[in-house]
């Protein structure tokens, strides 16, 4: 199955069709997506602010990382689930939408960056990781997530 065929299959599936014909399902799913955004945004910010030396307890980024993980993973699941549903309702349109591809690429890069570079930096602790590296990683992570969010909002325009 080619990529456009998968997109068409999504849009014509009963899920995609059901969301599209309903006048209230899409807004409800969107709201869920926004509530997930608040939680995931909070966890990403708390960890990155502490990497930048600006958050609560600049010496305990590893602690904050552990403490916020369940909420990060949980809200990510809500975001992916609600995002997938919205995608299915308008997949064919999104295939031709640059913002969609920018967002998905940035999401992939952000997630890979989070579980590799950022994870190592945070868990390495201030003894083994230089302040400069911590700050650079915090900044890059924030920028990557910003592109994901901005790309997402831009999908809604045009």
């Amino acid at each position: 199955m080619s990529v456009p065929a998968v997109f068409t299959w999504c849009e014509t599936s009963w899920i995609g069709e059901g969301i599209r014909v309903s006048s209230w399902l899409f807004p409800v799913i969107e709201s869920l997506h926004l509530l997930g955004l608040a939680v995931i945004g909070g966890t990403v910010l708390v960890v990155n602010l502490s990497l930048l030396g600006l958050g609560p307890g600049s010496r305990s980024a590893a602690q904050l990382w552990h403490d916020t993980r369940p909420w990060f993973v949980g809200s990510l699941a809500v975001m992916l689930g609600s995002g997938l549903l919205m995608f299915m309702s308008e997949a064919e349109k999104l295939y031709y939408h640059d913002a969609f591809w920018v967002k998905m690429s940035a999401l992939l890069v952000s997630l890979v960056f989070t579980v590799t570079v950022q994870r190592r930096t945070v868990l390495g602790g201030p003894d083994r990781v230089s302040t400069l590296r911590s700050r650079a990683v915090g900044l890059v992570s924030l920028l990557l997530w910003f592109v994901v969010g901005a790309g997402g909002r831009w999908i809604g325009f045009s």
């Binding site: 006048s23 807004p27 955004l37 909070g42 910010l45 609560p56 602690q63 904050l64 901005a150």
Partner: protein, 174 residues
């Protein structure tokens, strides 16, 4: 100009409102700022509320969390309120008449009162329960209420864009 609706009609006729409404780039950019600041203001508010509920960051004292997050929350709120006010200016008449806009303002007011009550209480009593995994009932109540009220604000905000209950456009004409 004696009533709010007259004010909205006047505002809608100003060159700034018209230019903003019809702009190709400015409106989407302001809208994006408004939505993405959810991460800054609301994201950090959620973190604090969850801490008050004893659900997150048990090793971080409540007072330290408040001290470090507050500047960001205030900055986020200022950006949100400013961009939100600008979005209102782009389409004042329809927004003013929109039922979700009015509900959103009510929930905003309630969330503000809840936060103010909590801060007065917390400034007097935090040291005693700063490190408690489960803060006292009043603090947990404030955290839970805050989560619910802000969720309602977000949901109503999103729904403003939809026109299910909008008044007939004819009746909007002066």
């Amino acid at each position: 100009m004696n009533s709010p609706i007259e004010f909205c009609h006047w505002l809608a006729g100003t060159p700034g409102s018209i230019a903003f409404h019809e702009s190709i780039w400015v409106y989407p950019i302001v809208d994006s700022i408004h939505v993405l600041t959810i991460c800054v203001f609301l994201g950090l508010t959620v973190m604090l509320d969850l801490r008050l509920l004893g659900a997150i960051m048990p090793a971080t004292p409540v007072s330290r969390l408040i001290r470090h997050l507050m500047p960001w929350m205030i900055a986020g709120f200022v950006v949100m309120a400013t961009s939100g006010a600008l979005l209102f200016c782009a389409d004042p008449v329809r927004t003013y008449l929109n039922v979700f806009f009015r509900l959103k303002l009510l929930f905003l007011l309630a969330a503000g009162v809840n936060a103010a009550v909590f801060h007065v209480m917390a400034s007097r009593t935090t040291p005693r329960w700063d490190l408690d995994l489960k803060p006292p009932t009043r603090a947990r109540l404030a955290g839970g209420l805050s989560l619910l009220l802000w969720a309602a604000v977000v949901i109503c905000g999103r729904m403003i864009a939809y026109d299910w209950f909008d008044k007939d456009p004819e009746s909007l004409a002066r």
